[in-house]
Protein backbone atom coordinates (compact mmCIF):
# COMPACT_ATOMS: atom_id res chain seq x y z
CA UNK A 1 0.00 0.00 0.00
CA UNK A 2 2.72 2.49 0.97
CA UNK A 3 4.76 1.68 -2.13
CA UNK A 4 1.97 2.26 -4.64
CA UNK A 5 -1.10 4.05 -3.29
CA UNK A 6 0.80 6.58 -1.18
CA UNK A 7 3.18 7.89 -3.88
CA UNK A 8 0.41 7.89 -6.48
CA UNK A 9 -1.96 9.79 -4.21
CA UNK A 10 0.78 12.20 -3.24
CA UNK A 11 1.82 12.99 -6.82
CA UNK A 12 -1.83 13.35 -7.80
CA UNK A 13 -2.49 15.72 -4.89
CA UNK A 14 0.52 17.81 -5.88
CA UNK A 15 -0.83 18.23 -9.43
CA UNK A 16 -4.11 19.56 -8.10
CA UNK A 17 -2.47 21.90 -5.54
CA UNK A 18 -0.10 23.28 -8.17
CA UNK A 19 -2.96 23.97 -10.52
CA UNK A 20 -5.02 25.75 -7.90
CA UNK A 21 -2.07 27.91 -6.88
CA UNK A 22 -1.50 29.24 -10.38
CA UNK A 23 -4.28 31.74 -10.79
CA UNK A 24 -3.64 32.30 -14.49
CA UNK A 25 -4.06 28.61 -15.25
CA UNK A 26 -7.23 28.50 -13.20
CA UNK A 27 -8.77 31.52 -14.92
CA UNK A 28 -7.77 30.43 -18.39
CA UNK A 29 -9.09 26.95 -17.92
CA UNK A 30 -12.45 28.19 -16.65
CA UNK A 31 -13.03 30.98 -19.14
CA UNK A 32 -11.65 29.50 -22.34
CA UNK A 33 -14.41 26.94 -22.95
CA UNK A 34 -17.03 29.53 -22.09
CA UNK A 35 -15.59 31.95 -24.63
CA UNK A 36 -15.38 29.23 -27.27
CA UNK A 37 -18.89 28.06 -26.64
CA UNK A 38 -20.44 31.51 -26.77
CA UNK A 39 -18.44 32.89 -29.69
CA UNK A 40 -18.25 29.82 -31.92
CA UNK A 41 -21.76 28.80 -30.98
CA UNK A 42 -23.12 32.23 -31.84
CA UNK A 43 -21.09 32.39 -35.05
CA UNK A 44 -22.04 29.01 -36.42
CA UNK A 45 -25.65 28.74 -35.31
CA UNK A 46 -26.83 31.38 -37.78
CA UNK A 47 -25.37 29.71 -40.86
CA UNK A 48 -24.93 26.06 -40.06
CA UNK A 49 -27.21 23.22 -39.16
CA UNK A 50 -25.16 20.09 -38.48
CA UNK A 51 -26.27 17.38 -40.96
CA UNK A 52 -27.79 14.28 -39.42
CA UNK A 53 -29.17 16.00 -36.34
CA UNK A 54 -32.87 16.55 -35.60
CA UNK A 55 -34.40 19.60 -37.25
CA UNK A 56 -35.25 21.49 -34.14
CA UNK A 57 -31.77 21.17 -32.62
CA UNK A 58 -29.97 24.47 -32.12
CA UNK A 59 -26.27 24.59 -32.92
CA UNK A 60 -25.47 25.61 -29.36
CA UNK A 61 -27.04 22.36 -28.26
CA UNK A 62 -25.15 20.27 -30.79
CA UNK A 63 -21.95 22.06 -29.86
CA UNK A 64 -22.34 21.67 -26.10
CA UNK A 65 -21.02 18.09 -25.76
CA UNK A 66 -18.13 19.18 -27.99
CA UNK A 67 -17.28 21.92 -25.53
CA UNK A 68 -17.32 19.40 -22.69
CA UNK A 69 -14.86 17.36 -24.75
CA UNK A 70 -12.75 20.47 -25.28
CA UNK A 71 -12.67 21.18 -21.55
CA UNK A 72 -11.45 17.65 -20.92
CA UNK A 73 -8.98 17.73 -23.81
CA UNK A 74 -7.38 21.06 -22.97
CA UNK A 75 -7.24 20.55 -19.23
CA UNK A 76 -5.87 17.03 -19.55
CA UNK A 77 -3.21 17.86 -22.12
CA UNK A 78 -2.15 21.16 -20.59
CA UNK A 79 -1.86 19.61 -17.14
CA UNK A 80 1.14 17.72 -18.49
CA UNK A 81 3.04 20.96 -18.82
CA UNK A 82 3.96 20.35 -15.19
CA UNK A 83 6.30 17.61 -16.41
CA UNK A 84 8.21 20.20 -18.44
CA UNK A 85 8.09 22.59 -15.51
CA UNK A 86 9.28 19.89 -13.13
CA UNK A 87 12.16 19.04 -15.38
CA UNK A 88 13.19 22.69 -15.55
CA UNK A 89 12.85 23.23 -11.81
CA UNK A 90 14.61 19.97 -11.07
CA UNK A 91 11.67 18.54 -9.14
CA UNK A 92 11.45 15.62 -11.55
CA UNK A 93 14.99 14.55 -10.76
CA UNK A 94 14.06 14.20 -7.11
CA UNK A 95 11.13 11.97 -8.06
CA UNK A 96 13.20 9.88 -10.46
CA UNK A 97 15.72 8.89 -7.77
CA UNK A 98 12.98 7.87 -5.32
CA UNK A 99 12.41 4.12 -4.92
CA UNK A 100 9.21 4.05 -6.95
CA UNK A 101 8.65 2.69 -10.44
CA UNK A 102 8.15 4.86 -13.48
CA UNK A 103 4.63 3.44 -13.84
CA UNK A 104 3.87 4.78 -10.36
CA UNK A 105 5.11 8.24 -11.34
CA UNK A 106 3.06 8.25 -14.53
CA UNK A 107 -0.02 6.97 -12.74
CA UNK A 108 0.23 9.72 -10.12
CA UNK A 109 0.68 12.44 -12.72
CA UNK A 110 -2.07 11.04 -14.92
CA UNK A 111 -4.59 10.79 -12.08
CA UNK A 112 -3.75 14.36 -11.10
CA UNK A 113 -4.51 15.62 -14.60
CA UNK A 114 -7.60 13.44 -14.74
CA UNK A 115 -8.89 14.92 -11.48
CA UNK A 116 -8.45 18.43 -12.86
CA UNK A 117 -10.21 17.59 -16.11
CA UNK A 118 -13.07 15.87 -14.32
CA UNK A 119 -13.56 18.80 -11.96
CA UNK A 120 -13.70 21.24 -14.86
CA UNK A 121 -16.02 19.09 -16.93
CA UNK A 122 -18.44 18.80 -14.03
CA UNK A 123 -18.21 22.53 -13.43
CA UNK A 124 -19.04 23.23 -17.04
CA UNK A 125 -21.86 20.72 -16.97
CA UNK A 126 -23.77 23.15 -14.77
CA UNK A 127 -24.37 25.23 -17.91
CA UNK A 128 -26.12 22.37 -19.73
CA UNK A 129 -29.64 23.73 -19.13
CA UNK A 130 -28.59 26.92 -20.95
CA UNK A 131 -27.94 24.73 -23.98
CA UNK A 132 -31.40 23.25 -23.68
CA UNK A 133 -30.12 19.98 -22.26
CA UNK A 134 -31.83 18.79 -19.11
CA UNK A 135 -29.57 17.04 -16.64
CA UNK A 136 -30.40 14.10 -14.43
CA UNK A 137 -28.30 12.63 -11.66
CA UNK A 138 -27.72 9.62 -13.91
CA UNK A 139 -26.54 11.66 -16.88
CA UNK A 140 -24.13 13.61 -14.66
CA UNK A 141 -22.64 10.35 -13.37
CA UNK A 142 -22.40 8.98 -16.91
CA UNK A 143 -20.62 12.08 -18.20
CA UNK A 144 -18.35 11.97 -15.14
CA UNK A 145 -17.31 8.38 -15.81
CA UNK A 146 -16.71 9.06 -19.51
CA UNK A 147 -14.74 12.20 -18.59
CA UNK A 148 -12.48 10.17 -16.29
CA UNK A 149 -11.67 7.57 -18.95
CA UNK A 150 -11.17 10.09 -21.76
CA UNK A 151 -9.10 12.44 -19.58
CA UNK A 152 -6.89 9.61 -18.33
CA UNK A 153 -6.10 8.63 -21.91
CA UNK A 154 -5.41 12.21 -22.96
CA UNK A 155 -3.18 13.03 -19.97
CA UNK A 156 -1.11 9.98 -20.78
CA UNK A 157 -0.89 11.03 -24.41
CA UNK A 158 0.29 14.44 -23.16
CA UNK A 159 2.84 12.84 -20.83
CA UNK A 160 4.12 10.66 -23.63
CA UNK A 161 4.86 13.76 -25.71
CA UNK A 162 5.89 16.11 -22.90
CA UNK A 163 8.29 13.74 -21.19
CA UNK A 164 11.23 14.57 -23.40
CA UNK A 165 10.47 18.27 -23.96
CA UNK A 166 12.61 20.73 -22.07
CA UNK A 167 10.92 24.07 -22.69
CA UNK A 168 7.41 25.32 -22.14
CA UNK A 169 7.56 27.15 -25.47
CA UNK A 170 8.23 23.87 -27.24
CA UNK A 171 5.42 22.31 -25.27
CA UNK A 172 2.90 24.90 -26.44
CA UNK A 173 4.03 24.65 -30.04
CA UNK A 174 3.75 20.86 -30.16
CA UNK A 175 0.55 20.59 -28.17
CA UNK A 176 -1.31 23.16 -30.24
CA UNK A 177 -0.28 21.24 -33.31
CA UNK A 178 -1.97 18.15 -31.90
CA UNK A 179 -4.79 19.59 -29.84
CA UNK A 180 -6.64 21.76 -32.31
CA UNK A 181 -6.90 19.25 -35.19
CA UNK A 182 -7.78 16.56 -32.68
CA UNK A 183 -10.62 18.66 -31.38
CA UNK A 184 -11.80 20.03 -34.77
CA UNK A 185 -11.97 16.54 -36.19
CA UNK A 186 -13.70 14.82 -33.29
CA UNK A 187 -17.31 15.57 -34.11
CA UNK A 188 -17.26 18.36 -31.54
CA UNK A 189 -17.83 21.12 -34.10
CA UNK A 190 -19.44 19.23 -36.96
CA UNK A 191 -20.44 15.60 -37.57
CA UNK A 192 -18.53 13.28 -39.91
CA UNK A 193 -21.61 13.08 -42.13
CA UNK A 194 -21.02 14.42 -45.67
CA UNK A 195 -17.39 15.38 -44.98
CA UNK A 196 -14.67 14.58 -47.58
CA UNK A 197 -13.50 11.00 -47.34
CA UNK A 198 -10.07 11.93 -45.93
CA UNK A 199 -11.62 14.01 -43.15
CA UNK A 200 -14.10 11.24 -42.46
CA UNK A 201 -11.25 8.78 -42.02
CA UNK A 202 -9.26 11.05 -39.76
CA UNK A 203 -12.36 11.44 -37.65
CA UNK A 204 -12.79 7.71 -37.59
CA UNK A 205 -9.29 7.05 -36.20
CA UNK A 206 -9.27 10.02 -33.83
CA UNK A 207 -9.85 8.59 -30.34
CA UNK A 208 -11.47 11.83 -29.26
CA UNK A 209 -14.29 11.18 -31.78
CA UNK A 210 -15.34 8.30 -29.56
CA UNK A 211 -14.96 10.45 -26.47
CA UNK A 212 -17.31 13.07 -27.94
CA UNK A 213 -19.70 10.34 -29.01
CA UNK A 214 -19.68 8.81 -25.53
CA UNK A 215 -20.44 12.22 -24.03
CA UNK A 216 -23.32 12.74 -26.48
CA UNK A 217 -24.75 9.34 -25.64
CA UNK A 218 -24.35 10.03 -21.93
CA UNK A 219 -26.29 13.28 -22.19
CA UNK A 220 -28.99 11.98 -24.51
CA UNK A 221 -29.38 8.39 -23.36
CA UNK A 222 -32.94 7.32 -24.03
CA UNK A 223 -33.13 9.72 -26.94
CA UNK A 224 -30.58 8.32 -29.39
CA UNK A 225 -31.82 10.47 -32.25
CA UNK A 226 -30.62 13.63 -30.48
CA UNK A 227 -27.09 12.28 -30.32
CA UNK A 228 -26.98 12.37 -34.11
CA UNK A 229 -25.03 10.03 -36.35
CA UNK A 230 -22.09 9.12 -34.15
CA UNK A 231 -20.41 5.81 -33.30
CA UNK A 232 -22.59 3.68 -31.00
CA UNK A 233 -22.07 3.89 -27.24
CA UNK A 234 -20.62 0.41 -26.81
CA UNK A 235 -17.99 0.95 -29.50
CA UNK A 236 -17.18 4.38 -28.08
CA UNK A 237 -16.64 2.97 -24.61
CA UNK A 238 -14.40 0.19 -25.90
CA UNK A 239 -12.29 2.66 -27.88
CA UNK A 240 -11.83 5.19 -25.07
CA UNK A 241 -10.96 2.43 -22.60
CA UNK A 242 -8.49 0.94 -25.05
CA UNK A 243 -7.00 4.37 -25.69
CA UNK A 244 -6.57 4.94 -21.96
CA UNK A 245 -4.73 1.65 -21.51
CA UNK A 246 -2.51 2.03 -24.58
CA UNK A 247 -1.54 5.62 -23.81
CA UNK A 248 -0.73 4.74 -20.20
CA UNK A 249 1.58 1.98 -21.39
CA UNK A 250 3.16 4.32 -23.94
CA UNK A 251 3.76 7.07 -21.36
CA UNK A 252 5.27 4.57 -18.91
CA UNK A 253 7.51 3.21 -21.64
CA UNK A 254 8.66 6.73 -22.50
CA UNK A 255 9.40 7.51 -18.86
CA UNK A 256 11.35 4.27 -18.44
CA UNK A 257 13.77 5.03 -21.23
CA UNK A 258 17.29 5.57 -19.96
CA UNK A 259 19.83 8.22 -20.76
CA UNK A 260 17.60 11.21 -20.45
CA UNK A 261 19.37 14.52 -20.87
Amino acid sequence: MTTLVLPVASLCWREVIRFCRQRSRLTGALLQPLVFWILLGAGFSASFHPPGTPDGMAYGQYFYPGIIAMVILFTAIFSTISVVDDRQHGFLQGVLVAPISRATIILGQALGGTTLALAQALLFLVLAPLAGISLTAASIVRVGVVAIVVAFGLVNLGLFIAWRLDSTQGFHAIMNLILLPMWFLSGALFPATKTPIIVEWIMRVNPLTYGVAAIRHSLYLGNPEAAGQVPPLSLSLVVILGFAVVSFIAATWMASRKELP
Binding site: T2, T3, R14, R21, H89, G90, G94, V95, I100, K258
Partner: protein
Protein backbone atom coordinates in the same frame (compact mmCIF):
# COMPACT_ATOMS: atom_id res chain seq x y z
CA UNK B 1 34.23 -6.72 7.29
CA UNK B 2 31.06 -4.97 6.27
CA UNK B 3 30.20 -4.28 2.68
CA UNK B 4 31.43 -0.96 1.29
CA UNK B 5 28.71 1.67 0.90
CA UNK B 6 30.00 2.56 -2.55
CA UNK B 7 32.23 0.51 -4.80
CA UNK B 8 33.20 1.92 -8.17
CA UNK B 9 35.21 -0.10 -10.66
CA UNK B 10 36.78 1.34 -13.85
CA UNK B 11 33.82 3.62 -14.39
CA UNK B 12 33.89 5.36 -17.76
CA UNK B 13 31.33 7.62 -19.34
CA UNK B 14 31.40 9.20 -22.77
CA UNK B 15 29.26 12.04 -24.04
CA UNK B 16 29.84 11.47 -27.73
CA UNK B 17 33.61 11.81 -28.09
CA UNK B 18 34.20 13.55 -24.79
CA UNK B 19 35.25 11.42 -21.84
CA UNK B 20 33.43 12.76 -18.78
CA UNK B 21 34.71 9.88 -16.66
CA UNK B 22 37.83 7.99 -17.55
CA UNK B 23 38.22 4.69 -15.75
CA UNK B 24 37.51 5.74 -12.17
CA UNK B 25 37.80 3.27 -9.30
CA UNK B 26 37.35 3.86 -5.60
CA UNK B 27 35.38 2.65 -2.61
CA UNK B 28 33.62 4.40 0.24
CA UNK B 29 33.34 2.56 3.56
CA UNK B 30 30.11 2.57 5.55
CA UNK B 31 29.93 5.55 7.86
CA UNK B 32 32.63 7.41 5.99
CA UNK B 33 32.45 11.05 4.88
CA UNK B 34 34.04 11.01 1.47
CA UNK B 35 34.63 14.11 -0.60
CA UNK B 36 35.24 14.65 -4.28
CA UNK B 37 37.15 17.79 -5.09
CA UNK B 38 37.56 19.12 -8.57
CA UNK B 39 36.70 21.90 -10.97
CA UNK B 40 33.39 22.12 -12.78
CA UNK B 41 33.41 19.82 -15.76
CA UNK B 42 35.72 17.46 -13.89
CA UNK B 43 33.14 14.66 -13.95
CA UNK B 44 31.62 15.00 -10.48
CA UNK B 45 28.08 15.51 -11.66
CA UNK B 46 28.29 12.69 -14.19
CA UNK B 47 29.48 10.37 -11.44
CA UNK B 48 26.55 11.43 -9.27
CA UNK B 49 24.06 10.86 -12.03
CA UNK B 50 25.41 7.36 -12.54
CA UNK B 51 25.35 6.54 -8.83
CA UNK B 52 21.80 7.82 -8.49
CA UNK B 53 20.73 5.51 -11.39
CA UNK B 54 19.79 8.36 -13.73
CA UNK B 55 22.56 7.70 -16.22
CA UNK B 56 23.92 4.44 -17.52
CA UNK B 57 27.73 4.35 -17.62
CA UNK B 58 29.46 3.58 -20.89
CA UNK B 59 31.52 0.92 -19.14
CA UNK B 60 32.62 -0.15 -15.70
CA UNK B 61 30.41 -0.73 -12.70
CA UNK B 62 29.10 1.01 -9.62
CA UNK B 63 27.67 -0.70 -6.57
CA UNK B 64 25.76 0.81 -3.67
CA UNK B 65 25.71 -1.50 -0.63
CA UNK B 66 26.43 -4.35 -3.01
CA UNK B 67 23.65 -3.49 -5.48
CA UNK B 68 24.60 -2.71 -9.05
CA UNK B 69 23.43 0.72 -10.21
CA UNK B 70 22.54 -0.55 -13.67
CA UNK B 71 21.10 -3.97 -12.87
CA UNK B 72 19.27 -3.17 -9.62
CA UNK B 73 18.29 0.50 -9.73
CA UNK B 74 15.26 -0.02 -7.49
CA UNK B 75 17.37 -1.56 -4.70
CA UNK B 76 19.96 1.19 -5.08
CA UNK B 77 17.39 4.00 -4.88
CA UNK B 78 16.01 2.58 -1.64
CA UNK B 79 19.33 3.36 0.07
CA UNK B 80 19.89 6.77 -1.44
CA UNK B 81 19.24 10.34 -0.46
CA UNK B 82 20.37 12.74 -3.16
CA UNK B 83 20.88 16.49 -3.18
CA UNK B 84 21.59 17.64 -6.70
CA UNK B 85 23.42 20.77 -7.62
CA UNK B 86 20.27 22.27 -9.10
CA UNK B 87 17.28 22.57 -6.80
CA UNK B 88 14.66 19.83 -6.91
CA UNK B 89 11.88 21.60 -5.08
CA UNK B 90 8.39 22.42 -6.26
CA UNK B 91 8.26 26.23 -6.03
CA UNK B 92 4.46 26.20 -5.73
CA UNK B 93 4.47 24.07 -2.59
CA UNK B 94 5.41 25.29 0.87
CA UNK B 95 8.63 24.19 2.55
CA UNK B 96 6.86 21.67 4.74
CA UNK B 97 4.75 20.35 1.83
CA UNK B 98 7.87 19.76 -0.22
CA UNK B 99 9.55 17.78 2.53
CA UNK B 100 6.48 15.74 3.47
CA UNK B 101 5.60 15.03 -0.16
CA UNK B 102 9.10 13.66 -0.70
CA UNK B 103 8.58 11.39 2.30
CA UNK B 104 5.47 9.95 0.62
CA UNK B 105 7.63 8.65 -2.21
CA UNK B 106 9.57 6.66 0.38
CA UNK B 107 6.56 5.29 2.21
CA UNK B 108 6.84 7.77 5.06
CA UNK B 109 3.59 9.64 5.74
CA UNK B 110 1.02 11.00 8.14
CA UNK B 111 2.04 12.26 11.53
CA UNK B 112 5.45 10.53 11.40
CA UNK B 113 6.38 12.35 8.20
CA UNK B 114 5.12 15.70 9.43
CA UNK B 115 6.89 15.44 12.76
CA UNK B 116 10.16 14.50 11.13
CA UNK B 117 9.81 17.25 8.53
CA UNK B 118 9.25 19.87 11.24
CA UNK B 119 12.20 18.52 13.19
CA UNK B 120 14.53 18.69 10.16
CA UNK B 121 13.37 22.14 9.08
CA UNK B 122 13.82 23.28 12.67
CA UNK B 123 17.37 21.96 12.67
CA UNK B 124 18.08 24.07 9.61
CA UNK B 125 16.58 27.17 11.26
CA UNK B 126 13.48 27.16 9.10
CA UNK B 127 10.93 26.62 11.85
CA UNK B 128 9.22 29.95 11.15
CA UNK B 129 9.24 29.54 7.37
CA UNK B 130 7.66 26.08 7.08
CA UNK B 131 4.41 27.44 5.67
CA UNK B 132 6.01 29.75 3.14
CA UNK B 133 5.96 28.76 -0.49
CA UNK B 134 9.38 27.73 -1.70
CA UNK B 135 9.29 30.31 -4.52
CA UNK B 136 9.33 33.05 -1.88
CA UNK B 137 12.46 31.73 -0.13
CA UNK B 138 15.99 32.95 -0.83
CA UNK B 139 18.54 30.69 -2.50
CA UNK B 140 20.22 29.78 0.78
CA UNK B 141 16.92 28.90 2.46
CA UNK B 142 15.86 26.79 -0.52
CA UNK B 143 19.10 24.89 -0.16
CA UNK B 144 18.24 24.06 3.43
CA UNK B 145 14.76 22.84 2.47
CA UNK B 146 16.47 20.70 -0.13
CA UNK B 147 18.70 19.12 2.50
CA UNK B 148 15.80 18.51 4.86
CA UNK B 149 13.94 16.85 2.00
CA UNK B 150 16.79 14.47 1.18
CA UNK B 151 17.23 13.54 4.84
CA UNK B 152 13.59 12.80 5.60
CA UNK B 153 13.64 9.11 4.54
CA UNK B 154 16.81 8.50 6.63
CA UNK B 155 18.95 7.36 3.70
CA UNK B 156 21.86 5.05 4.44
CA UNK B 157 23.92 6.84 1.80
CA UNK B 158 23.68 10.55 1.20
CA UNK B 159 24.92 11.89 -2.13
CA UNK B 160 25.47 15.64 -1.92
CA UNK B 161 26.48 17.55 -5.03
CA UNK B 162 27.91 20.88 -3.85
CA UNK B 163 25.64 20.86 -0.79
CA UNK B 164 26.69 24.17 0.71
CA UNK B 165 26.40 26.26 -2.44
CA UNK B 166 24.43 29.36 -1.53
CA UNK B 167 24.84 28.88 2.22
CA UNK B 168 26.53 31.68 4.14
CA UNK B 169 29.65 30.74 6.15
CA UNK B 170 27.68 30.43 9.39
CA UNK B 171 25.10 28.11 7.89
CA UNK B 172 27.86 26.17 6.18
CA UNK B 173 29.66 25.53 9.47
CA UNK B 174 26.40 24.46 11.02
CA UNK B 175 25.76 22.13 8.12
CA UNK B 176 29.19 20.53 8.29
CA UNK B 177 28.65 19.98 11.99
CA UNK B 178 25.27 18.48 11.21
CA UNK B 179 26.82 15.97 8.80
CA UNK B 180 29.17 14.86 11.57
CA UNK B 181 26.24 14.38 13.93
CA UNK B 182 24.31 12.49 11.28
CA UNK B 183 27.19 10.11 10.69
CA UNK B 184 27.71 9.58 14.40
CA UNK B 185 24.07 9.12 15.38
CA UNK B 186 22.65 7.29 12.39
CA UNK B 187 25.77 5.84 10.79
CA UNK B 188 24.96 7.58 7.51
CA UNK B 189 27.59 7.33 4.81
CA UNK B 190 28.15 10.63 3.03
CA UNK B 191 29.58 11.15 -0.42
CA UNK B 192 29.82 14.81 -1.31
CA UNK B 193 31.38 16.98 -3.93
CA UNK B 194 32.69 20.36 -2.99
CA UNK B 195 34.85 23.18 -4.11
CA UNK B 196 34.86 24.82 -0.71
CA UNK B 197 38.16 24.06 0.92
CA UNK B 198 37.25 23.98 4.59
CA UNK B 199 34.34 21.71 3.78
CA UNK B 200 36.64 19.36 1.87
CA UNK B 201 39.12 19.46 4.76
CA UNK B 202 36.54 17.91 7.04
CA UNK B 203 36.09 14.78 4.95
CA UNK B 204 37.68 11.53 6.10
CA UNK B 205 39.08 10.99 2.65
CA UNK B 206 39.17 13.05 -0.50
CA UNK B 207 39.31 12.07 -4.14
CA UNK B 208 40.57 14.68 -6.55
CA UNK B 209 38.82 14.55 -9.91
CA UNK B 210 40.26 16.30 -12.91
CA UNK B 211 39.13 15.87 -16.49
CA UNK B 212 37.38 12.64 -15.69
CA UNK B 213 40.32 11.07 -13.88
CA UNK B 214 40.89 10.43 -10.23
CA UNK B 215 44.30 12.04 -9.83
CA UNK B 216 44.67 11.51 -6.08
CA UNK B 217 42.86 9.78 -3.24
CA UNK B 218 43.81 10.15 0.40
CA UNK B 219 43.02 11.83 3.71
CA UNK B 220 43.16 15.65 3.41
CA UNK B 221 46.24 15.93 5.64
CA UNK B 222 48.07 13.23 3.73
CA UNK B 223 47.29 15.01 0.47
CA UNK B 224 48.68 18.27 1.80
CA UNK B 225 51.77 16.51 3.09
CA UNK B 226 52.55 15.52 -0.50
CA UNK B 227 53.21 19.14 -1.32
CA UNK B 228 56.57 20.34 0.04
CA UNK B 229 56.62 22.30 3.32
CA UNK B 230 55.45 25.73 2.10
CA UNK B 231 53.91 27.28 -0.96
CA UNK B 232 55.29 30.64 -2.11
CA UNK B 233 53.15 32.75 -4.46
CA UNK B 234 54.89 35.53 -6.38
CA UNK B 235 53.12 38.23 -8.36
CA UNK B 236 54.94 40.26 -10.93
CA UNK B 237 54.40 42.71 -13.80
CA UNK B 238 56.01 40.27 -16.18
CA UNK B 239 55.47 36.78 -14.77
CA UNK B 240 57.03 35.03 -17.77
CA UNK B 241 60.21 37.07 -17.58
CA UNK B 242 60.50 36.65 -13.84
CA UNK B 243 59.92 32.94 -14.17
CA UNK B 244 62.87 32.62 -16.52
CA UNK B 245 65.02 34.78 -14.26
CA UNK B 246 64.16 32.76 -11.15
CA UNK B 247 64.86 29.51 -12.96
CA UNK B 248 68.24 30.83 -14.00
CA UNK B 249 69.41 32.54 -10.82
CA UNK B 250 67.78 30.54 -8.02
CA UNK B 251 67.71 27.17 -9.81
CA UNK B 252 64.06 26.34 -9.05
CA UNK B 253 61.24 25.91 -11.56
CA UNK B 254 58.29 28.11 -10.59
CA UNK B 255 54.91 27.06 -11.89
CA UNK B 256 53.01 29.75 -13.78
CA UNK B 257 49.37 29.48 -12.73
CA UNK B 258 46.74 32.04 -13.58
CA UNK B 259 49.24 34.90 -13.90
CA UNK B 260 51.22 34.27 -10.73
CA UNK B 261 54.26 32.14 -9.97
CA UNK B 262 54.21 29.32 -7.46
CA UNK B 263 57.04 27.51 -5.82
CA UNK B 264 56.84 24.64 -3.38
CA UNK B 265 59.74 24.57 -0.96
CA UNK B 266 60.65 23.49 2.54
CA UNK B 267 61.34 26.93 4.01
CA UNK B 268 58.98 29.41 2.44
CA UNK B 269 60.01 32.51 4.37
CA UNK B 270 63.64 32.18 3.35
CA UNK B 271 62.80 31.68 -0.29
CA UNK B 272 60.39 34.61 -0.25
CA UNK B 273 63.08 36.89 1.15
CA UNK B 274 65.56 35.65 -1.40
CA UNK B 275 63.17 36.45 -4.25
CA UNK B 276 62.46 39.92 -2.85
CA UNK B 277 66.15 40.68 -2.49
CA UNK B 278 67.21 39.30 -5.85
CA UNK B 279 64.41 40.87 -7.94
CA UNK B 280 63.28 43.93 -5.99
CA UNK B 281 61.90 45.73 -9.05
CA UNK B 282 60.23 42.85 -10.88
CA UNK B 283 58.15 41.55 -7.95
CA UNK B 284 54.89 43.21 -6.92
CA UNK B 285 54.10 40.89 -4.02
CA UNK B 286 55.23 37.66 -2.41
CA UNK B 287 53.26 35.54 -0.02
CA UNK B 288 53.81 32.13 1.49
CA UNK B 289 51.92 29.66 3.63
CA UNK B 290 51.18 26.04 4.44
CA UNK B 291 49.76 24.24 1.44
CA UNK B 292 45.99 24.19 1.08
CA UNK B 293 43.99 21.61 -0.83
CA UNK B 294 44.01 23.99 -3.74
CA UNK B 295 47.81 23.88 -3.72
CA UNK B 296 47.50 20.10 -3.85
CA UNK B 297 45.25 20.43 -6.86
CA UNK B 298 47.61 22.84 -8.57
CA UNK B 299 50.64 20.70 -7.92
CA UNK B 300 48.80 17.68 -9.37
CA UNK B 301 47.30 19.36 -12.43
CA UNK B 302 49.15 22.65 -13.00
CA UNK B 303 45.85 24.48 -12.92
CA UNK B 304 43.75 26.23 -10.35
CA UNK B 305 40.44 24.87 -9.10
CA UNK B 306 38.73 28.08 -10.16
CA UNK B 307 39.37 29.99 -13.32
CA UNK B 308 39.55 33.51 -11.98
CA UNK B 309 40.50 35.02 -8.68
CA UNK B 310 37.11 36.66 -8.23
CA UNK B 311 35.19 33.39 -8.44
CA UNK B 312 37.13 31.99 -5.55
CA UNK B 313 34.88 31.49 -2.56
CA UNK B 314 36.03 32.89 0.81
Amino acid sequence: MSEPAVQIQSLTHLYGERKALDGISFGVAQGEIFGLLGPNGGGKTTLFRILSTLLRPTSGSGRIFGHDVVMEPAEVRRHLGVVFQQPSLDPKLTAIENVVQHGHLYGCWGRTARRRAHELLGRFDLADRTRDRVESLSGGLKRRVELAKALLPRPALLLLDEPSTGLDPGARRQFTHFLDTLRREEGTTILLTSHILDEAERCDRLGILDQGRLVALDAPDALKARVGGDVVVIRAHDPDGLRAAITQKLSVQPLLVDGSLRVECARGHEFAREVMETFPDAVTSVSFGKPTLEDVFISLTGRRLWDREDTRPP
